[in-house]
Symmetry: C2
Subunit: 208 residues, 2 copies
Amino acid sequence: MTTPPPSPKPRRGPGRPRADEAEQGPGAQERIRVAARAEFAARGYDKTSVRGIAKAAGVDPALVHHYFGSKDELFAAAIELSMEPALFVPAILGAGPDGIGERLARYFLGIWENPVSRAPLLAVMRSALTHEAAAKVLRGLILRRVLERVAADLNVPEPTFRAELAASHMIGIAMLRYVVQVEPLASADPEEIVALVAPTLQRYLTEE
Amino acid sequence: MTTPPPSPKPRRGPGRPRADEAEQGPGAQERIRVAARAEFAARGYDKTSVRGIAKAAGVDPALVHHYFGSKDELFAAAIELSMEPALFVPAILGAGPDGIGERLARYFLGIWENPVSRAPLLAVMRSALTHEAAAKVLRGLILRRVLERVAADLNVPEPTFRAELAASHMIGIAMLRYVVQVEPLASADPEEIVALVAPTLQRYLTEE
């Protein structure tokens, strides 16, 4: 899935587009998704509204409801947009079990090192910790869309459980390095972290 | 450090104790610490006040200020009260490097399995994710009081960094198991988690 620019079409005049303009179709849907990610990242789960997302996407709130139904579905779409590139790149899972721990650790740290992808991921963690509705969305999404797809490629007993252990380590590193910012972890060279963590992920994902 | 009961002395009459009663001394200080932990756990960092902690401890707010100075110092005291038993029991660190990973994993999960200690730890994680002031307190406290004391007993290069990697794994497991509650991790037998995680902690804490 690629990320389109927030406003793909030039407008005829200045100001907000009107609801009766031609806004429908996959372009608008993608714009809403990108706007949802930005709004949840900037404001958190609680303060983000369907109306605010509609405004940021330049569409009528009714169109947002039409495509996504509810705030929780928008939150799920925003998470998916943030996480899919992090976990489904064929370079990580498709290249077979050799070195999978190292590839996964390096890619995950890369996502967090980039401020553009870090902000929505932080918003997701914040929301999951503070709002049961957000945690529920995340739970369904993590379980069904991310971990089970990772697990399907693994050749170990209880592959989903193993994938969750690997994910838990990376999430905890993100929490201590980027949120609490405890030293020396916060300033460590990413490659130093990869070197120590890769064997752990490799063991969880490949050894019986 | 042992945890005293919230109200150690029987009162002469019903209702809140008056500020001019004999409330000073280490008994009151401990009572304030325990009340702070309960208040931060129940209300979170933002909604907890010095006044509310004083009321819960049955002391005058001036006495809380006298002992702890500010809300941030109370937060630090509440964290310390929650974390010290989890990390400083001599049974974990004092018994030498053999089996240290297994003892640490089992003890940490035990703390989270117990709802009494889980609530304040959850509150700490929530606060650190949502309030920079709380993250700053946690950063200072984790670094100075917890990780450096753990690291002092380790015989590896960069012991604080190693201790942080071990801590990050346990924090991430807590996040996925107890907060997001993703299955099968959320319902797994703690001993199954210990069996897989112990070798990871053992490697971080003992292998060069």
